[in-house]
Amino acid sequence: MAKKAKSRTVMVRLLSMAMTGYFRSMMRPRQHRPLSMLKYDPIVRKKVLFLEQKRGGK
């Protein structure tokens, strides 16, 4: 049986680099480079760098 086709987009998790454990979930095209952006972290109450978490494991 043919494998199910992969979707064009993936859900990714962007982790706060302030090491607070705060994250945002975003959708990006599968072929796109990993996301990274400056966003507000409510725990440290500042704009900090958010980087996409490496996927894998599952």
Binding site: M19, L35, M37, V48, K54
Partner: protein, 193 residues
């Protein structure tokens, strides 16, 4: 002054539970050879150890004459049935013969009949609770010298996590600068796991 009839009467008036208790566990003042005068003689005679009872039981018809003159039994160290005992052979602790509930019941019964002084030491004796309260106060467990509170996992790890967060925030301006220089993530290599 002859106090014998009163005390014989007292001994006979005791409920079976107390009499049985005193038969099995004679008052410590008698077995330890302390001041036997503290205990009224006839009352004491009815509770005496078998070795001593054999000589005096004829005066007290209420006490069955137990003819077991074993000096070793009388000389053995007194074991408080209200306290845990340590087995030195195995190094383990044995529970008291009477649990706290039964200790309290016996103390209350003895108090009712005025023989509470003959009981061995127990924390259920009247006034013990107040004494301990005076000694220890309303102290909070874990606040004494050498005592620690384990705490929840988030409490135990809080310090380390805050330190990590602080270091990350100190390094954040430099990190953002690097990130901007590398084309907003285009050349970024260190992705978090």
């Amino acid at each position: 002054m002859d106090i014998r009839p009163q005390h014989v009467q007292l001994a006979t008036a005791l409920p079976k539970r107390l009499l049985d208790f005193f038969r099995k566990y004679p008052p410590p003042a008698l077995t330890q050879g302390l001041s036997a005068a503290d205990v009224p003689a006839p009352l004491a005679a009815s509770f005496e150890t078998p070795a001593v009872a054999s000589s005096t039981s004829s005066t007290d018809p209420n006490v069955p004459a137990i003819e077991t003159p074993s000096a070793a039994l009388a000389e053995r160290t007194y074991r408080n049935p209200f306290q845990p005992t340590k087995n030195f052979a195995t190094g383990k602790w044995n529970s008291p013969v009477f649990g706290l509930r039964r200790q309290a019941e016996i103390v209350k019964l003895a108090q009712k009949h005025g023989v509470v002084d003959l009981l061995p030491y127990t924390i259920k004796l009247p006034g013990e609770r107040e004494k301990r309260r005076v000694e220890r106060g309303l102290r909070v467990k874990g606040t004494g010298v050498g005592e620690r509170v384990k705490g929840k996992a988030w409490e135990r790890t809080l310090k380390g996590r805050l330190e990590e967060r602080r270091n990350a925030m100190l390094a954040m301006p430099q990190m953002i600068e690097d990130w901007k220089q590398r084309g907003h993530g285009r050349g970024w290599k260190k992705w978090p796991k």
